[in-house]
Structure formats: structure tokens, C-alpha cells
């Protein structure tokens, strides 16, 4: 890929995720979706920058804020919409919902921290099988409250699991700011288990793309765990309408740290317009397709036996 192509691809991926999430938030009040959702707006550069380096067999383990990871992994938006709608055509047939996805080598679960050892075990299995595949696990800052994360860092380090732990430190956990949940530094917690870690504070996808490329290479070559701490910002509410942060401060952050705007500058206006149009279309089409897909009600008539 040329630099221009790379820039355009990165831009379109960010745009795609942004548009997907906006569509989710926009339509939630209409009652088309079930349960709740955690959108990725503001953090797109992380998923896009990191997951652009994936190889076919690589594993991704995501958390509650998984849409961006799923789409950047290459997941189909229509089945994701359908999953949020609780439809049979959803990624997991409507069983999982927003937080519980699985497709190909992508997995997510809604329990903070618990995914860490699972992803590490997967990485070790691939190493054992000699497939060359590695694993990537996404963890939020708040999730570093959970003890299982440290059991995992210890095990991953001792047993040299080929896994990249990507920390998306958006400085908040639900409504709780980082200073009330993290003593010391997340970075140091990696080193204290003998795991090398790089920390970045950027919303520039190109920076992340480049560093992630290096980190993933290291994991692949050295077959060892690494950490990548990405300081980032969540632009929207934790789930829906539950943002307790100062809107002024948030506005200021969005001004300087919007990954979409930052990457837009690297793409010519014309191409940008094309991308925008194309992505808008794709998202809309996916949404409509999901909306029109049959409901469980259409399939089963008062029979619960077949469901299980």
C-alpha cells in the first residue's frame, strides 16, 4: 500500500466506526435495539491503528466497548446491527447482544478483566500449535481494578504468551475518573511483571498504527507478551445518556483529540467525500438490512422448544 492508500484506508475505517456508532445512538431511542450499548466514538484510532496489522489467524479479545474493535477486525456491520436488535441474523443469533460477540477469531465478553486469561490461553494454544498466530486483548483503565488482570500478566510473562495487551486509557470508568480507580501508573504495572510496555498519548491513528505495528511484530517475533497503553478519550456517554463529565471540558477535548478530524487532514477533500458517501451508504444499507431481517417472532410461533 502507498502512504496515501494507507491514509485513506485508515480514514475510512475510522469513519465507518464513527458512523456505525452514531447510527446506534441515533436509533436507540426508537426502540429498535435491545438492552444497552457502549459506543466507541472518540477512540476509533485505537482499534483501527492496532487491528490494521492483523493476520488471518490472529485472535482479538474485546470487552464491553466492542463495536469499534469488531468493525476494525472486519466484522460485518449488518450482523452487528442485527445482534443489537436481538435478531436471529445477528452475529451470535441475538443471544449475545452488544457485549458478547464472536465471529471468526474475534471474541468479546462483558465481564471486566475476565477476558484477559482467556485471551492469554488462546495465545499460548496458538504458540503450542505453532500456527504463528498471536492474540490481542483490549482492556480499559477501570478494568485494572480487577485482580485477574494481574494473575494474567504474571502467567503471560512466565509462560511467554504471544499476546499484546492494549490498554485504552480513556481516563474514566463508567462515571469514575482515573484518579479514583488507579493508584500509581498502569504502565508500571506491566513492567512490574516483566512485561515491556509502550505508552502513547495521541489520537492520531498514524502514530498508533506505526507503534502498534512494531509492538505486534515484537509479539510475533519474540513470542512474548507486550503492553501498549493508549491514552485516549471517550467522546460520548458510557452507555446512553450517562455522561457526568463537564461538557465544557469534554468539548475542549473533542476539539483537539478527534481521530476522525486528525486523520481527515491526510486525505484529499475529494477522496474524503467519496469515502464519506460510500461509508454512509454502507452503514445505512447494513442498518436497513438488519432492520428488515426477520424477528424471532416471525420464525417461531409460540414454540420455545426449538429455541434452545
Amino acid at each position: 500500500m502507498t502512504i496515501t492508500e494507507t491514509n485513506e484506508t485508515l480514514y475510512s475505517m475510522i469513519y465507518r466506526i464513527r458512523k456505525f456508532e452514531e447510527t446506534v445512538l441515533e436509533n436507540f431511542p426508537k426502540g429498535v435495539f435491545w438492552g444497552t450499548t457502549h459506543t466507541y466514538i472518540g477512540q476509533e484510532a485505537n482499534a483501527v491503528g492496532v487491528l490494521s496489522h492483523l493476520q488471518e489467524d490472529d485472535i482479538v479479545f474485546s470487552n464491553h466497548r466492542s463495536h469499534g474493535h469488531f468493525i476494525a477486525y472486519g466484522g460485518d456491520m449488518s450482523t452487528l446491527f442485527a445482534e443489537l436488535m436481538g435478531k436471529p441474523s445477528g452475529v451470535c443469533g441475538g443471544r449475545g447482544g452488544s457485549q458478547h460477540l464472536h465471529w471468526k477469531n474475534f471474541y468479546s465478553n462483558g465481564i471486566q478483566g475476565g477476558i484477559a486469561p482467556i485471551a492469554t490461553g488462546m495465545a499460548l494454544a496458538e504458540k503450542y500449535k505453532n500456527t504463528g498466530a498471536i492474540a490481542i486483548a483490549f482492556l480499559g483503565d477501570g478494568t485494572f481494578g480487577e485482580g485477574i488482570v494481574y494473575e494474567t500478566l504474571n502467567l503471560a510473562s512466565l509462560w511467554k504468551a504471544p499476546i499484546l495487551f492494549v490498554v485504552e486509557n480513556n481516563h474514566i470508568a463508567q462515571t469514575t475518573p482515573e484518579n479514583l480507580t488507579i493508584a500509581g501508573k498502569i504502565r508500571d504495572r506491566f513492567s512490574s511483571f516483566g512485561v515491556s510496555v509502550v505508552e502513547m498519548d495521541t489520537s492520531d491513528v498514524l502514530d498508533i498504527y506505526q507503534q502498534a505495528g512494531k509492538s505486534i511484530n515484537e509479539v510475533r517475533e519474540n513470542k512474548m507478551p507486550y503492553g501498549l497503553v493508549l491514552n485516549t478519550y471517550r467522546f460520548g456517554p458510557h452507555s446512553k445518556g450517562d455522561d457526568t463529565r463537564n461538557p465544557q471540558v469534554l468539548k475542549q477535548i473533542i476539539k483537539t483529540r478527534d481521530p476522525l478530524r486528525i486523520q481527515a487532514e491526510r486525505v484529499s477533500v475529494g477522496v474524503r467525500e467519496n469515502i464519506t458517501k460510500k461509508m454512509d451508504d454502507e452503514v445505512l444499507t447494513a442498518y436497513k438490512e438488519a432492520l428488515e431481517a426477520p424477528l424471532f417472532e416471525d420464525i417461531y410461533e409460540n414454540s420455545s422448544d426449538d429455541v434452545t
Binding site: G35, G110, I111
Partner: protein
């Protein structure tokens, strides 16, 4: 006081007000958010030093609260979603409930652990469970569940101030919004409140401060079936009772304990004397749920005197996110009505 939520919120406020030893702890419980289900709303503003928002460390802060309880404080812990009580299993089972007995009754651990359980909100497999059954057989633990038939806030205050044993206080997400039952404006029903004697093992006080409610259809001419349930399912069953009475002239007597464990089955046995038919309803998954022990205790005493013994519970599967599937998997009003009709037909 209008809803269960308001009643609980007010009880916590009252507890904080009346006793400096009371501390609240949990994830995201500070104002303006006030906790995921708002049970702590307004409290951190009034008591900033005694309402502590925690890192995401369910085991850690539960253990920490237990340590506080052992040194004279009265901590109340919130587990944001009841699904996460799995994370405190070791603290609860191998530490908290063991201390009093294994230390030869030299310590008490007066901790209250609140946990919102339940589905019907489409939150999916890890945020919709009714997991108290994991803990109902744990020796030394008191498991309570408020009901809209009684006074949820009062129950919580009793748990905080009167109960010396560790308490798991099980709330239900949909119950939060239920209106407190008012017998005066509910002429269809008659309500009785039973207070039991303590069993001989606990010598300190004579009565359990945990009432058991018996709800009947007012002036019911007979008693066809004893329905035992708790928490939010009692709200669902209450509507089913009415339909059964009006539509099918089937008269159900409903028993709703506020203490789930240690088990108190005397009122159930009393009611079965008349009805001879038992149905236990719960939102948790069927196998080895609360009802299994209720039924076992009943039949140990009445091995051959009942005409029908049944359970209605969630299917033995994870709880799906999809609304349609979730409705299929959890017991609802229609299921209760159908089940009772079927029982009446067959027995």
C-alpha cells in the same frame, strides 16, 4: 414512599444519618450518577466521606468492607450487577461467613452486600442473571430479598443494624420500579404478615425480624394452590393470581418470604394443609434453585400428602440478549397462569 427504589434509597439515607458506623461502598455510586440503578442517589452529596466509590474490584472492596465490619463499622456494599457476585465467592464463602464460627464466635462480620439481580432488560448473558442460588446453601450467610408487599427499606435497615451475620441483600432490577403494595387500595387481596420464631440454634433473640407475607384473594372461597415466590416474581405472580381467580375461579395463596436463607418453610407447610398443591416460582435458573430446597423441606415433612409439586423458573441456559428469547427463557405472568391451570387440571 412510592417505589421499592425510593424505599431503599431512603433507608440508606436514614442509616447514614442515624449512625456514623454506616459506610457505603460500590462502583460508580457517587452523585450525580448515584449508582447504576440509582439506589445511592443523593447520598454521596450528603455524606461524602462515608459514600465511597470503588475501583472495579468486587472481591477487593467486599473483603475490605468485611475487615471494616470486623472492626466495628457497618459497611453496605453494592455489587453493581448481581452477575458479579461470582467474583466475591471466595471472600464470601472462605472468609466472611467462616470467620464468626471458626474464630469460635469471637467476631461478627455485620456486612450487607446488596446485589441487583434479574433480567428482562435485554442486557444479555452477563448482566441479567439471578445468581443468589449460588449462596443460599452457604452456612452462616443470611440472604434477604425485599418485596413490594412489605417495606423494603425497613428490611434493609434491619439488615444493617440488627443482623449481626453477613447478609446478601438481593434486589431485582424490575422490582426497583414497582410501587409499594397498599392493601387499602387493593380490595381484591387480603394480606397477612407472619413473623417466625427463631430456631433453637440462634439463642440471642426470639423472633426473626424478617416477615413472611401471605397474599390471598379477598374472600377466597377455597385455597387451590400454594404459590411460593419472592422478590419481583411476587409482583408478577400477584397479577397472575388475580387472573386465575377471575378467569378460572382458581384461588391461589401466595407466600412471599423476605428471608431466603436460612430457609423458613413453616408458613408454606401450613398453607399446603389446605391446598395440597405446591408451585414454587423463581427467576433464577431451574436446577438447584431456591425452590429445590423449599420443596425438599416440605416433602421431608409431608412425604405423601401433596397432590402436586411443581416449579417454574428460568430455563437452564444463559440469559439471551434478544428480547424475544429472553421472554421465552424467563418465567412470566402468562407462564404462571398456564402452569397453575395445568396443575389444576392434572391433580
Amino acid at each position: 414512599m412510592n417505589t421499592v427504589l425510593e424505599s431503599l434509597n431512603r433507608a440508606l439515607l436514614n442509616a447514614l444519618k442515624t449512625d456514623e458506623r454506616v459506610l457505603l461502598m460500590g462502583e460508580d455510586i457517587l452523585d450525580p450518577y448515584g449508582g447504576s440503578f440509582k439506589v445511592s442517589k443523593g447520598l454521596s452529596t450528603k455524606f461524602p466521606k462515608r459514600v465511597l466509590t470503588t475501583p472495579i474490584s468486587e472481591a477487593g472492596f467486599t473483603g475490605l468492607a468485611a475487615g471494616m465490619a470486623m472492626r466495628g463499622l457497618l459497611p453496605v456494599v453494592e455489587i453493581m450487577f448481581g452477575d458479579f457476585v461470582t467474583l466475591i465467592a471466595d471472600q464470601l464463602i472462605n472468609h466472611i461467613v467462616k470467620f464468626p464460627w471458626m474464630y469460635n464466635q469471637k467476631v461478627t462480620v455485620p456486612i450487607v452486600i446488596r446485589a441487583p439481580m434479574g433480567g428482562r432488560r435485554g442486557y444479555g448473558p452477563t448482566h441479567s442473571q439471578t445468581l443468589e442460588k449460588l449462596y443460599l446453601g452457604v452456612p452462616g450467610l443470611v440472604v434477604l430479598a425485599p418485596t413490594a408487599l412489605g417495606n423494603p427499606g425497613r428490611l434493609l435497615e434491619v439488615a444493617i443494624f440488627q443482623e449481626k451475620r453477613p447478609v446478601l441483600f438481593v434486589e431485582n432490577k424490575l422490582l426497583y420500579l414497582s410501587k409499594l403494595f397498599d392493601i387499602n387500595s387493593s380490595p381484591d387481596y387480603s394480606l397477612e404478615q407472619i413473623v417466625l420464631k427463631r430456631d433453637h440454634l440462634e439463642k440471642t433473640e426470639n423472633y426473626y425480624p424478617y416477615p413472611i407475607y401471605v397474599l390471598k384473594i379477598a374472600d377466597a372461597p377455597k385455597c387451590d394452590l400454594t404459590l411460593v415466590t419472592y422478590g419481583y416474581m411476587a409482583e408478577v405472580a400477584r397479577n397472575a393470581m388475580l387472573r386465575l381467580a377471575y378467569e378460572s375461579e382458581i384461588f391461589v395463596e401466595m407466600i412471599v418470604p423476605t428471608i431466603l436463607a436460612p430457609y423458613q418453610c413453616a408458613p408454606v407447610i401450613r398453607s399446603l394443609d389446605k391446598s395440597k398443591r405446591l408451585l414454587v416460582v423463581e427467576e433464577g435458573t431451574l436446577t438447584l434453585g431456591w425452590g429445590a430446597e423449599v420443596i425438599t423441606r416440605v416433602v421431608e415433612q409431608l412425604p405423601n400428602r401433596l397432590r402436586a409439586i411443581h416449579r417454574l423458573a428460568s430455563k437452564d441456559f444463559p440469559i439471551p440478549a434478544s428480547g424475544y428469547l429472553e421472554r421465552e427463557f424467563l418465567p412470566n405472568e402468562e407462564d404462571i397462569v398456564a402452569k397453575v391451570r395445568k396443575i389444576m387440571k392434572e391433580s
